[in-house]
């Protein structure tokens, strides 16, 4: 392993070669690349183990520097592969996983690591100080997942690193054997990768455990709050971390945020007076700053709970917990402030006892301001990362490339875990010590390149992180906007890679992926299902009656839980347990389980669809007091504030264990307390059925031609989201029920495992997830199926993954994971893939999923047929997932943002505080919005209304709302948007004339103008719905409907339609306008040589003269005939070929007709006609058209006589008139002066200047060309190389023409003049 890395770091092998080598070993790509570096060939046996080695290596190298956030161990096989062989205590010592399901693995390594040396680097004093780790218990999620079972588990409390150190050694000794692996090239002696984040030894741990347990038991109900979700993180608390990083940092921040309200501020040493609301300094460095949303999230290592020294009683902890919770539910702002004050004091207290002095549990209120011993530490908290100080760049680049390739190729078990790790590196806070701490580096034997400390300073870490982020840009750019913003504003990225900074900034600016982690929860209403719940569905009156009673009891329980479950000392089992069991007994007596299971399931879906679990957060039911205080129109603000409180701010790492949140807890606890086999069985059946039903979701194929596609797509997405979330919820409970009987607290020993596997291999799975999974891959709806299967499997017990059946499932999932390389393709959209990868990555990190699975499973075992059935619209190919859904399904992705935010908070505090509080200004719309309570009441009223009416009424109203809403959008598109686009066209044309500068900018400008008007859409949309909705309802409902019902139905339909339409419009109108304008603009640009100046002239000539019969010859016909004339004129001619004069005259007449009738005319035809006639005139002028005078007597007209009897004059006059009168566009008359056409004149032996001069005068006379224009044309003609005599004549001609017009004599007769002047010309020549 190390050998490979060694080769890489010594630059003997390129990173790309290593990737190739890796690829060869993994996955089905093997065959295609066999160009493997020779040095790697011999190491081919190691491929499988290389990635875990690399991941361990990076963790190992960076463990010194990472002080922010939880450690991010990836599950690697070596770490726990042999856990099964170990005895309990060993295991506890080694991995500390078993009991509390902590996912933290210690990375055992094959190469010997210099753990001792590293250990010694801590000064004992520092180590013994605040090395507390009441790890990761999360304040905001006091949920317990299996209280009855897991109650024995408890978080490990702090321990002294000194003890830690020695104990580790002993534990290493004890577990030496267990680290032996069959790999032949492994070094004979391995040490567990204890180092910093090592745990305590067996005995030490045991003591702590016992202590914890006893405390937990004392705490009775509270024990649960520290179990599972809390405890499982505990090891991520790196004792080293807390020892090294000054523990006070965030406390101080907190103090800034929550300064004392009273005058008793002891913060004399703070230069800046703390204020509750800070004005935000506008910083040039962070130009994107809007009010900062970050709530100075506390990195876990410093989260309040984590900072309890070992002696602290749990009371303090629970107090805080409560404090926080009450503040969430706080009904009174004053109270809330009080809480915050208390909390601050507590934090301060902890902060000021860095030496590990036990906190007096009885005096949490006592502020010890004076003891700010840790303050100085803050000054060097955030080391400024400097690109110039990076050492061993080359190696870091190699590593970054290799590491990034592993991520890109899905060779790592969890992409986001790695990204989290990278962000940790990016935001690592080096200590001041780091530069001086040369002893950190291993001096002896450091020749080994892979053993060298490449990451020993912040600069290197940041350099590496930025490199990797650059490689992973595509994934990052798909993250939600807040994360992008934090990245875009990250000073380190800006200084280390300006290009990446710029890319991120652009990504942020163009991102529309705003994600709220707090989704509005569905209205909590009790659902009655008359179809299934009425008497006819029950065998007897008694059963029916009992069911009705059960139903009432059930809701009573629910209400009780809702009201009380967050109160201290309230215990589900104690309060509700007996009631539930009594109810179950009743159900058993009447065999009503199936009915109740259905009700249970429906209620579950109704309440828990939201990501938080819904219901319990006061977002939907805000306390009236709070509302009064904050103002009901500031709901969004309130929401954001709530989000800060409710959504955990502490960083828990990107791989939390599966847990039940919010309302889900009720249902889980209900199942556990009921303990009814029958009920569980019915529930399983019911869940399976519903899952299968929902999993069959197909999308309706949409006509793209039809205008509502946009809206339908949105609806579709919504529908998909609802189905996906429901499926996940149901699958989670199914998983819970299915694996419940097998759940064990500890991992079974190997023997137990074997026998259990042998036993359980015989049973059939309840739901054939393997089949469903295969189907989903085949039918390409994996995007729907995989997320819920992951939820199902996340609750797997320790043994199940070893069963033949589930092994296959995991294999297949792994295979899918490996194949799903992230890129945008038409098979599956990027975000769809990202969701699948995120959930799968999470699943692979779930504690009960065996680690060796990811790295050791032979992926090729399961044949994966990626049949592409493209006939129907496969779900996978539709971009259904957006960031909101991604983050809803994987809330742990938000950890990335929190980590970044905490960095900002940290560095910001140092630099004067960028962190801003919410500024309570009432800048938002002053229009009275109905308060939340009102809206809720309204919704309930509507529900009640429909409930009393036949179902068809509801269907009708919904249908009408749907159609009218959709039509409304179409209507707006056709009217308002079309108008705006037209206006935009005019504006664009004007602007294009001005400058043909930046088109994008132009477009942007014009659109910006229109957006405001776009707001009109809402008003018009409302009008439309108001008019159309009631009409439709009236027509569709039976005539007999009572007036009141009809009226209500109309109102509801109208409201719903308006909501739908206006919702869509307000979200999309700007984009829509922009799209349409852009399309128009592109069309404008495409039309070559847009005749802009003549636009008006064309406008005038668009219509036929009144009474036109459209009988004129077709333009094509005329062009064709003129072409024939030109042909003959230009030659070659047949013997005696001539053009009949009369015919030509007639042709010109028809030309005039054709030009007048605009019906069949198109611009190209007209252009061609103009050109052809000018050519014809030129040929006529140079007497090149062989005219045959017919029988027409020339004496017919007196004028013609005067025109030298030449028919050519007549034809020319006719042409002049046609040009003047009939053409709708400018005629290219300057062509007449082209070299080619003048050459026609020049070639004639007997030059006919009369005709030419006649033409010139005609042009002036008919106002077709100006005198100066002609002059300049003639002038430029003289520049050309003509025969000298011709040049002379030309000179003469122009002189005549000019003098003639300069005289400005009243021209009696142009023809006469022509004759005269020509006389002079000939005389002079």
């Amino acid at each position: 392993m190390a050998a490979v890395l060694e080769l890489l770091l010594r630059e003997e092998v390129a990173a790309s070669a290593v990737v190739r080598w890796l690829r060869q070993g993994s996955g089905p790509r093997a065959a295609e690349e066999n160009h493997i570096h020779e040095k790697l060939v011999s190491l081919s046996l190691l491929q499988k183990d290389f990635v875990p080695f690399l991941l361990n290596f990076l963790r190992e190298q960076t463990s010194q520097i990472l002080t922010n956030g939880p450690s991010t161990p990836a599950k690697t096989p070596n770490s726990k592969a042999h856990g099964n062989q170990r005895t309990g205590s060993e295991r506890r010592a080694g991995h500390a996983t078993g009991s509390n399901n902590s996912r933290v693995q210690l990375f055992s390594e094959r190469t010997s690591v210099t753990s001792c040396t590293t250990d010694t680097s801590f000064s004992p004093a520092a180590a013994s100080s605040g090395s507390s780790s009441f790890s990761g218990s999360n304040l905001s999620s006091p949920c317990s997942d299996f209280p009855s079972m897991v109650s024995t588990s408890s978080p490990s409390f702090g321990y002294s690193p000194v003890l830690n150190h020695s104990e580790k050694r002993s534990s290493q000794k004890a577990s030496l054997g267990s680290f032996l692996t069959p790999m032949p090239e492994a070094p004979p002696v391995r040490r567990g990768r204890r180092k910093g984040n090592s745990s305590v030894s067996a005995s030490g741990r045991q003591v702590v455990r016992d202590l914890g347990r006893s405390l937990a038991e004392d705490e009775d109900g509270k024990s649960e709050s520290t179990s599972w979700s809390a405890g499982r993180r505990k090891q991520s608390e790196v004792p080293l971390v807390s020892a090294r990083s000054p523990p006070s940092q965030l406390n101080l921040n907190n103090l800034e945020e929550f300064p004392p309200m009273g005058a008793a501020s002891g913060w004399t040493n703070k230069s800046k007076p703390s204020r509750r609301i800070n004005p935000t300094p506008v910083s040039a460095e962070r130009p994107l700053s809007k009010p900062k949303m970050c709530f100075t999230s506390t990195p876990v290592s410093q989260s309040p709970a984590a900072r309890f020294p070992s002696g602290t009683s749990l009371e303090a902890f629970t107090a805080i917990q409560e404090g926080n919770l009450t503040s969430v539910v706080g009904s009174n702002l004053q109270e809330e402030r009080e809480m915050l004050k208390k909390e601050r004091c507590k934090l301060l207290h902890q902060a000021s006892s860095p030496a590990g002095l036990s906190l007096d549990p009885g005096t949490p209120m006592k502020p010890s301001y004076a003891r700010s011993a840790s303050l100085p530490a803050e000054s060097h908290l955030v080391t400024c990362a400097d690109p110039a100080k990076v050492s061993c760049k080359k190696q870091l680049e190699c590593l970054a490339q290799l590491y990034s390739s592993c991520i890109a190729e899905n060779l790592v078990p969890n992409i986001f875990l790695e990204l989290f790790f990278v962000l940790q590196l990016l935001t690592s806070k080096g200590t001041s010590a780091e530069d001086g701490e040369s002893d950190l580096e291993v001096n002896e034997g450091s020749e080994d390149a892979s053993r060298k400390q490449h990451f020993r300073n912040v600069h290197n870490c940041v350099y590496f992180a930025v490199q990797v982020l650059d490689y992973q840009y595509e994934i990052i750019s798909h993250l939600e906007k807040g994360t992008l913003k934090l990245l875009a504003e990250n000073e380190r990225i800006a200084s280390f890679s300006p290009t990446l900074h710029e890319k991120l900034r652009q990504a942020y600016e163009s991102s529309t992926a705003k994600v709220s982690l707090l989704l509005p929860c569905s209205v909590q209403s009790v659902s009655f299902q008359p179809e299934t719940d009425n008497r006819s569905n029950f065998p007897s009156d008694r059963a029916f009656h009992i069911f009705k009673k059960q139903r009432d009891i059930f809701y009573e329980l629910l209400r009780e839980w809702e009201d009380n479950h967050e109160k201290t000392g309230w215990d589900f089992e104690r309060v509700l347990g007996n009631k539930i069991r009594a109810m179950m007994a009743h159900l058993s007596a009447t065999c009503n389980h199936s009915h109740f299971a259905r009700l249970f399931q429906k209620q579950l879906i109704q309440m828990c669809k939201g990501p938080i679990g819904g219901g319990t957060s006061w977002g939907d039911t805000p306390d009236q007091d709070v509302l009064n205080m904050l103002g009901s129109d500031n709901l969004s603000r309130l929401k954001r504030l709530q989000e800060r409180f409710v959504v955990p701010q502490s960083i828990r790492g990107p791989c939390p264990s599966p847990s039940f949140t919010g309302c889900q807890q009720f249902f889980r606890d209900f199942i556990l307390s009921a303990g009814s086999y029958q009920f569980n069985q019915h529930l399983v059946d019911s869940l399976c059925l519903k899952i299968l039903e929902l999993d069959g979701l197909t999308l309706i194929e949409h006509e793209h031609s039809d205008g509502e596609a946009d809206m339908d797509e949105q609806d579709e997405k919504k529908r998909f989201t609802v189905v996906l979330l429901s499926l996940r919820l149901l699958a989670k409970f199914l998983g819970f029920l299915v694996f419940l009987p097998y759940r064990t607290v500890e991992q079974p020993t190997r023997d137990l495992l074997e026998s259990a596997v042998a036993l359980r291999n015989r049973t059939q799975p309840v739901l054939d997830v393997l089949k469903l999974l295969r189907q989903s891959v085949r039918d390409r709806h994996a995007i729907l199926t995989i997320p819920w299967i992951v939820e199902f499997l996340s609750l797997v017990d320790h043994i199940a993954p070893f069963l033949d059946y589930y092994r296959k499932v995991f294999c297949l999932l792994l295979q899918i994971y490996r194949l799903m390389v992230l890129s945008e393709d038409k098979e599956m959209s990027f975000l769809n893939k990202l969701l699948i990868l995120a959930v799968l990555g999470w699943l692979f990190q779930v504690p009960s999923v065996p680690e060796e699975l990811f790295f050791t499973t032979d992926v090729r075992k399961e044949g994966l047929m990626m049949d592409t059935v493209t006939s129907t619209r496969a779900l996978d190919s539709v971009p259904l997932v957006d960031q909101q859904l991604l983050y809803t399904c994987c809330p742990y992705l938000g950890e990335l943002r929190k980590l970044l935010a905490s960095f900002v908070a940290g560095s910001g505090a140092k630099n004067g505080g960028f962190v801003r509080k919410i500024t309570p200004t009432a800048a938002e719309s002053l229009a009275p919005k109905p308060s939340v309570t009102q809206r809720k009441l309204q919704a309930e009223l509507e529900q009640a209304f429909f409930h009393n009416q036949p179902p068809s009424l509801r269907r009708t109203v919904e249908f009408v709302a749907e159609r009218v809403g959709s039509n409304c959008v179409k209507h707006i598109k056709a009217t308002l948007v079309a108008e705006l686009v037209q206006r935009a066209e005019v504006m664009l044309q004007d602007k294009m004339k001005e400058e043909d500068a930046n088109h994008d900018k132009l477009l942007e400008e014009v659109c910006a103008h229109l957006y405001e008007e776009g707001a009109q859409a809402l008003v018009r949309g409302r009008e439309f719905c108001k008019k159309k909705g009631p009409e439709a309802v009236r027509v569709l409902l039976p005539d007999e409907t009572s007036a009141a019902v009809l009226n209500s139905a109309e109102e509801i339909a109208m409201e719903l339609a308006t909501e739908k339409a206006c919702g869509w419009l307000s979200a999309n109108i700007a984009a829509l306008i922009k799209r349409e304008v852009k399309a128009t603009f592109n069309r404008m640009l495409k039309v070559p040589g847009l005749p802009l100046p003549s636009e008006d002239a064309l406008e005038l000539r668009r219509d036929c003269p009144p009474g036109c019969q459209h009988h004129a010859p077709f333009p094509s016909q005329i062009i064709n005939e003129i072409k024939d004339v030109l042909c003959i004129a230009v030659g070659p001619r047949d013997e005696g070929e001539v053009i009949d004069y009369v015919w030509l005259e007639c042709l010109l007449g028809r030309l005039s007709q054709t030009l007048r009738c605009r019906k069949f005319m198109c611009p190209t035809s007209e252009q061609q006609l103009a050109k052809c006639t000018v050519e014809l005139a030129s040929l006529l002028v140079s007497d090149r058209v062989p005219l045959r005078l017919g029988l027409k007597p020339p004496e017919k007209s007196s004028e013609r006589l005067r025109v030298k009897n030449s028919p050519t004059y007549c034809l020319l006059k006719q042409l002049l008139s046609v040009w003047k009168e009939d053409f709708g566009m400018p005629v290219p008359l300057q062509l007449m002066f082209s070299r080619k056409n003048i050459a026609y004149v020049a070639e004639v032996k007997q030059r006919e200047w009369d005709l030419f001069l006649f033409m010139l005068r005609g042009l002036v006379e008919y106002d077709l060309m100006g005198i100066s224009e002609i002059e300049s044309c003639l002038h430029s003609l003289k520049e050309l190389p003509w025969p000298s005599d011709f040049l002379k004549e030309l000179e003469m001609l122009s002189r005549v023409f000019i003098s003639e017009h300069n005289l400005e004599e009243p021209r009696t007769n142009p023809c006469e003049l022509a004759r005269q002047s020509l006389g002079t010309v000939t005389a002079q020549s």
């Binding site: 072409k1123 019906k1159 080619k1236």
Partner: protein, 254 residues
């Protein structure tokens, strides 16, 4: 108007060996007086295009180009007023316009010492006045005017015919009271490829359901049917313009 296969074959056969000039067209008219000029021209044009497609490459080899250019130079040296280029084209059996293009391209290449852009050449062919050499300008103009199958003039005529027939078709649809969506409306909706008219309400013609109409305003021989089917109609199908396309109308007005 219907034209029997035999008649068509006869015309096509006759066209096997003629030059695309005015004179040929005149002969054709004399030979098939019952056919309209536009029909004959359309067939002529199509047949000739087929022929050119076959021989195109031959005329574009470096040697051929050089030979033509030298012959042109020699020709105009002797007599600049003679139709050198046109005759050369007829002699080697190539469309005059295309011959003009070859020589012009070669000429510009010599003058500019670089390969001239396509837009420049096209613009010069459209307006030979822009050609810097007066003699060549005349020669080129002569070629393009005399060519009845290729060249800017012919292209324009074809375009005009297409437009006129579309207008006619629209008239007819309006007359028959058929509701339709026209191409420009469809384009406004963002279709890249659209037929001329989509019938909002399909109609049945001789037992076939017609969803849309595409007017091609050219003679619909077998190969062009095939080609249009390939290039255009299937793409309408793919874009779901006509969901159940049973037949397409291939209209030709004459």
């Amino acid at each position: 108007m219907k034209l029997s296969k035999a008649q068509y074959d006869e015309i096509a056969q006759f066209l096997g060996q003629v030059q695309p000039t005015r004179q040929s067209l005149r002969k054709l008219k004399q030979k098939f007086p019952s056919q309209s000029q536009s029909t004959l021209l359309s067939i002529f044009s199509q047949e000739y295009q087929k022929q050119v497609k076959r021989t195109h490459a031959k005329h574009h080899t470096a040697e051929a180009v050089e030979t033509y250019y030298q012959r042109y130079l020699n020709g105009v040296m002797k007599n600049a007023a003679a139709p050198v280029l046109l005759e050369l084209a007829n002699e080697v059996n190539f469309a005059p316009s295309l011959m003009a293009r070859i020589v012009l391209e070669r000429f510009l290449q010599e003058q500019e010492q670089a390969i001239p852009s396509k837009t420049l050449i096209n613009s010069m062919l459209r307006d030979p006045s822009q050609i810097p050499d007066g003699v060549l300008a005349n020669q080129v103009y002569q070629c393009t005017v005399n060519d009845c199958c290729y060249g800017p003039l012919v292209d324009c005529i074809k375009h005009a015919i297409g437009h006129e027939h579309e207008v006619l078709l629209r008239e007819m649809l309006l007359e028959k009271n058929l509701s339709f969506i026209a191409e420009d409306q469809l384009r406004a909706k963002g279709y890249d490829k659209t037929p001329d008219f989509i019938l909002e309400v399909p109609v049945a013609v001789e037992g076939h359901i017609i969803h849309w109409i595409e007017s091609k305003a050219s003679f619909g021989d077998e190969s062009s049917h095939q080609a249009y089917l390939q290039d255009q109609f299937w793409s309408y199908w793919n874009r779901k313009v006509a969901v159940r396309l049973k037949m397409f109308l291939f209209l030709f007005f004459s």
